[in-house]
C-alpha cells in the first residue's frame, strides 16, 4: 500500500498557473463525497426513510435529518471546529487520497492516476487553489478518512449509489469504521503520521480519536437540535425541527416557563 502524500507544497510567487480541468472535476467529486459522507454519518444518529438510511439497512418511518439539511449543518460545524486546517489537515487529506486511490475509492480514482507522485502533488495544489479564499474544510478530511477506512475494511463499499464509500456501507460496517478510528488501525496511524507536519508528527492516534468522537457526538447534537433552522438574525424558525416531533418536545413551540412547581421536598425551603 502506498502511503503517498507528504507536506503540502507552498504556493509559488505569483500564484499557481490555471488548474487542469481534471483537477476541478476531482475537487467537485471530493466535495460531493464529503456531502455524502456527512449524510452517511448523520443517518447513523437519526435513521429515517431516506436513501442513505436505506443503504445502511437501518431505517425508520417518517421524515428525518435529510429533510432539514442536518448533514450540511453538521459539516459546517466540523469545518468551524478545526482552524488552521490548511497547514495541518490538507497534507493529511492528500496522503489519504493517495491511499484511497490505491484501494479503489471512487472519488480518488477520478484523479485518474493517483498515487502517482505528480498527480498527488497536483491534487494538493488543487486543494490549495480551491480554498485560497476560505479555510480548508475539515469535513472534507473527515470524509476522506471515513471513506478510506470503509474501503480498507470492506472493499465492496467502493461500489454503490453514493460518491462516499462510507455512505455506501451497511450500518455494521460504519460501526467498524468508527471502531477503527477509536482504536486506530495501524495503517491509518502510519498514513496520518507520515503526512503531519512537524512538530505534530506522531500525533496521529490522538487526531483519529478526536475525529472518531466528534463525528458521533457532534452529529447527534446537530441532528437532534434545531441547528440551522433557526435564523439568529431574524429570530425565526424556518420549520419545526423533525427531532422535536420524534421526541415529543415542546409541542407548542418554545416557552418561557412551565406550570411545574410542585413545592419543596418535605417542606425544606431553607437551611
Amino acid at each position: 500500500m502506498a502511503a503517498g502524500g507528504g507536506a503540502a507544497v507552498a504556493e509559488p510567487l505569483g500564484g499557481y498557473p490555471d488548474l487542469p480541468p481534471w483537477a476541478d472535476a476531482v475537487l467537485d467529486r471530493l466535495l460531493a463525497e464529503s456531502t455524502d459522507a456527512m449524510r452517511g454519518v448523520v443517518v447513523m444518529m437519526m435513521p429515517a426513510g431516506d436513501p442513505y438510511s436505506l443503504q445502511q439497512g437501518v431505517t425508520a418511518t417518517g421524515p428525518g435529518p435529510l429533510d432539514q439539511r442536518s448533514p450540511e449543518a453538521f459539516g459546517a460545524l466540523i469545518d468551524r471546529f478545526v482552524p488552521h486546517a490548511d497547514q495541518l489537515l490538507r497534507p493529511v487529506a492528500v496522503a489519504l487520497m493517495a491511499t484511497a486511490a490505491d484501494v479503489g475509492d471512487p472519488a480518488a480514482r477520478a484523479a485518474g492516476g493517483l498515487p502517482d507522485p505528480a498527480v498527488t502533488a497536483a491534487v494538493d495544489r488543487a486543494l490549495g487553489y480551491r480554498f485560497t479564499d476560505s479555510t480548508f474544510p475539515a469535513s472534507l478530511l473527515a470524509a476522506i478518512l471515513l471513506d478510506v477506512t470503509a474501503v480498507l475494511l470492506d472493499p465492496r463499499t467502493v461500489a454503490g449509489p453514493f460518491a462516499s464509500a462510507f455512505a455506501n456501507a451497511r450500518y455494521e460496517t460504519k460501526c467498524r469504521v468508527f471502531e477503527a478510528l477509536e482504536s486506530p488501525l495501524p495503517e491509518l496511524i502510519s498514513i496520518v503520521d507520515e503526512a503531519l507536519p512537524q512538530p505534530l508528527t506522531g500525533s496521529a492516534s490522538g487526531i483519529l480519536r478526536f475525529f472518531g468522537g466528534i463525528l458521533l457526538d457532534g452529529s447527534a447534537f446537530t441532528a437532534w437540535s434545531e441547528h440551522d433552522l433557526w435564523d439568529r438574525r431574524t429570530r425565526v424558525l424556518s420549520a419545526r425541527p423533525v427531532a422535536w416531533d420524534i421526541a415529543d418536545y415542546r409541542p407548542n413551540g418554545p416557552v418561557d416557563g412551565h406550570a411545574e412547581f410542585l413545592g419543596f421536598h418535605r417542606g425544606i425551603d431553607s437551611f
Binding site: 437501518v58 447527534a220 433557526w230 416557552v255 418561557d256
Partner: protein
C-alpha cells in the same frame, strides 16, 4: 496604575473584583469574551443557537459571532464545554452549590479519611473555610431547590434505596437532598404557568421552570439583571461590583471591560523574587492592544486558560506543576427510560442530588433533545451491540455500557424526551500529575499559543476508577428503585464542565502553584482565583461555591497584604445580590 486587575469574569474573578471594589479599591475586571448585556434579545431557548461550541452565543470566542471561535486542542475522545464571556461557564451552569466534602481538607480525621485524596489535601481545615462558604451562600443567595416532576421521580429512587435525607449544608455521610441551588425561588406566576405574558417581572419572580439553564437564564422577562433567576456571576457578583459604591460606604464601582483578551502578565524580577506588574490585553474587535499596570494582578481565566496565560507570559514554573493535576470529576452518565412523565425537559436543570463522600455523588440533569442525544454518544465504550472499544462494562444497568446509535437511539428518543431521567455520576477523581493542560503544538491564534487538554480516560488512578464504578452503580440502582423500565450506562469520554486544580493550592512547594494564601507560589502580587487554584476535586461536589469562597478569602488577603486593610467576613454581614440598591443601579445602567 490600577490597584487591582482581575483577569477573567467567570465564576471566581468577579467575586474578588466585587469584594475589593466594595472596599474602595480601583478594580479593573477584564473578560476575554462577550458581555451579553441584554440576554433577552441576544439569547434564546434553542440548543444549537446557544451551545454550538463553534458559533453559539455560549461558545469560547469573541463577541462577534461572525468571527471564528477560539480553538482549544484535545487530541483524544473528549469534549470541552467551557465558555468565554462575562459569567464564564456559570452562564450555562446549573447553579448547584454544595459545600465541599470535609474529607479533602487538612486535619480531617473522620473514619472514612483514607478514602479521600490524602496526598493532595487543601492546606487549611474545613472549619477555616466555612465562614467564607457562608458569606457566599448569603450573597448569591443559595437555598434548597424547589421540586418539579423530575425531582419527585429522583427522590422516589433515593427513598427506595433507603438513603437518609440531608437537611444541613455540611455533608457528613451518604444522603440525598434537594440541591443547594443558586437559583431564586419561584414567586408570583413563576412555576405556575407557561403563558409568557404572565412571566414578566415583577408579576413573576425567580425560576419560571422553563427548563433551559444550559441555554443561559434570562427569566423572568424584563427583570433587572440582578433579579434574573439563576445566579451566574453575570447576574450576581458582576452587578454587585458595578454597584459597589451604592452598597458599601467608601465603595467604588469596579470597571468591567469585556471582549478584551489578556495575552500577557507582565512581571519583573529583583532580589531573586519575581512579581507581577500588569497586563497586556487585546480588543477582539479592533485588534488594538493595551497595557495596564497594577499593584496586584488576579488570574482567574479558567482551568485551561490560566495555565495557558502563565505559559505564554513566560512566568516561572520551577516545579513543573503549572497545568498539572487537572481534575474533571471524570463524569459518567446513567439514564433511565420510564413509562410515565419524568419532566426531563422542564424546571431547573438539576434540583436533586445524592452525596457519597469518599466516592463522589450523583445529581439529576434535565435536558432537551439535542444535548440529550449528544450525551448518549459521548462514550469510551464504542457503540452498543457493535463494538466496545475495549470497555463496554456490564453491571447494574441493562446490557453493556456504550453509545446509543442507529435504531436504538431513534427508538430511545422517540420514547419521549419527558420519559427519561438522567443521572450525572460525579467521581471523586484524585489528583494525577499526568492529567494536564499544556501549550498546544498547533499554530497559535491571535492571543498566543493555545491550550491543549492532555487527558487520559484509560489508566486513571485506582482510587478514581473505584470511585467511578461506585457512583455509576449507585445511579443505576437509584433509577431502578425509581421505576425505570430500561437503564443505560454511557461510560462518558472526559467531558470538561467541572474543571479544577490545574494550578493547585498546596502546602508543599514541590507539587503546587498556589500558596495557601491564594498568592502564586513563584510570583508575588499575582493571585489565583478560579477553579484552577482548587487543591483537588473537592471529593465530588460541584466547584463553583468553593471557588467563590476561596476568592472571597483571597480578596481579604489582598486587602490586608498590599493595601493595609482588614478582613470583613468575620465582622460584617454580606450584601445579598438581589439588594434593591443593586437593582436600582442595574436599571440606571440599562441592564
Amino acid at each position: 496604575m490600577r490597584d487591582v486587575i482581575v483577569v477573567g469574569a467567570g465564576g471566581g474573578g468577579p467575586v474578588v473584583a466585587a469584594e475589593l471594589a466594595g472596599r474602595g479599591l480601583d478594580v479593573l475586571l477584564l473578560e476575554g469574551g462577550p458581555r451579553h448585556a441584554n440576554p433577552e434579545s441576544e439569547w434564546s431557548h434553542l440548543e444549537f443557537d446557544a451551545n454550538d461550541p463553534t458559533s453559539g452565543y455560549l461558545r469560547f470566542g469573541p463577541e462577534n459571532r461572525d468571527k471564528p471561535g477560539w480553538y482549544r486542542e484535545w487530541s483524544q475522545n473528549s469534549f470541552v464545554w467551557e465558555l468565554s464571556g462575562v459569567g464564564g461557564t456559570t452562564q450555562h451552569y446549573f447553579g448547584n452549590c454544595p459545600r465541599p466534602y470535609p474529607g479533602v481538607f487538612a486535619g480531617y480525621q473522620g473514619v472514612d479519611a483514607a478514602l479521600y485524596d490524602t496526598a493532595y489535601r487543601f492546606p487549611l481545615t474545613y472549619a477555616e473555610l466555612v465562614p467564607y462558604l457562608e458569606w457566599v451562600e448569603a450573597t448569591l443567595p443559595i437555598k434548597p431547590a424547589p421540586m418539579g416532576r423530575k425531582e419527585q421521580v429522583f427522590f422516589q429512587g433515593c427513598e427506595g434505596l433507603g438513603l437518609p435525607l440531608q437537611t444541613s449544608r455540611d455533608t457528613t455521610g451518604f444522603a440525598y437532598r434537594p440541591q443547594p441551588n443558586a437559583i431564586l425561588h419561584p414567586g408570583g406566576n413563576a412555576g405556575r404557568t407557561d403563558d409568557s405574558s404572565l412571566l414578566v417581572y415583577p408579576d413573576a419572580t425567580g425560576c419560571t421552570f422553563c427548563g433551559h439553564c444550559f441555554q443561559g437564564c434570562y427569566l423572568p422577562l424584563r427583570a433587572p439583571r440582578n433579579q434574573l433567576a439563576r445566579r451566574s456571576t453575570d447576574n450576581s457578583y458582576v452587578p454587585l461590583g458595578l454597584a459597589a459604591d451604592a452598597v458599601h460606604p467608601g465603595g467604588r464601582a469596579m470597571e468591567l471591560r469585556a471582549d478584551s483578551f489578556v495575552t500577557q502578565i507582565h512581571h519583573e524580577t529583583s532580589g531573586g523574587r519575581t512579581r507581577a506588574t500588569g497586563v497586556t490585553f487585546r480588543d477582539n474587535e479592533t485588534g488594538e492592544t493595551f497595557r495596564e499596570d497594577a499593584t496586584v494582578v488576579v488570574l482567574a481565566a479558567g482551568a485551561a486558560e490560566s495555565p495557558r496565560l502563565w505559559f505564554n507570559s513566560a512566568l516561572p514554573n520551577p516545579n513543573g506543576w503549572v497545568g498539572r493535576g487537572h481534575t474533571d470529576h471524570w463524569f459518567d452518565w446513567v439514564v433511565g427510560l420510564f413509562d410515565d412523565d419524568t419532566g426531563n425537559s422542564r424546571g431547573g436543570n438539576s434540583c436533586a442530588r445524592v452525596e457519597y463522600p469518599g466516592y463522589g455523588g450523583l445529581e439529576n440533569a434535565g435536558l432537551t433533545p439535542g444535548i440529550q442525544a449528544f450525551t448518549m454518544n459521548l462514550s469510551e465504550s464504542g457503540i452498543r451491540g457493535q463494538y466496545t472499544n475495549g470497555r463496554g462494562k456490564t453491571g447494574a444497568w441493562d446490557g453493556p455500557a456504550g453509545r446509543l446509535a442507529g435504531a436504538e437511539l431513534r427508538e430511545f428518543m422517540s420514547h419521549g424526551i419527558d420519559r427519561m431521567l438522567n443521572v450525572l455520576c460525579i467521581t471523586d477523581d484524585h489528583v494525577d500529575p499526568e492529567q494536564r493542560i499544556v501549550p498546544s503544538l498547533f499554530p497559535a491564534d491571535e492571543n498566543g499559543a493555545v491550550a491543549k487538554y492532555d487527558l487520559q480516560s484509560r489508566g486513571r488512578l485506582p482510587a478514581t476508577e473505584r470511585n467511578r464504578e461506585f457512583v455509576a452503580t449507585r445511579a443505576a440502582e437509584l433509577l431502578r428503585a425509581a421505576g425505570a423500565r430500561s437503564i443505560y450506562r454511557v461510560d462518558w469520554a472526559p467531558l470538561q464542565l467541572h474543571v479544577h486544580s490545574s494550578m493547585r493550592m498546596g502546602e508543599s512547594e514541590t507539587n503546587s502553584v498556589t500558596r495557601p494564601t491564594g498568592e502564586a507560589r513563584f510570583v508575588d502580587r499575582l493571585f489565583l482565583a478560579d477553579n484552577s487554584m482548587l487543591a483537588n476535586s473537592l471529593g465530588g461536589p460541584n466547584p463553583t461555591l468553593t471557588t467563590q469562597a476561596f476568592a472571597t478569602r483571597t480578596a481579604e488577603t489582598i486587602l490586608a497584604t498590599y493595601f493595609g486593610g482588614e478582613g470583613w467576613v468575620h465582622t460584617e454581614a454580606p450584601v445579598v445580590t438581589t439588594d434593591p440598591r443593586i437593582t436600582e443601579r442595574m436599571v440606571s445602567l440599562g441592564l
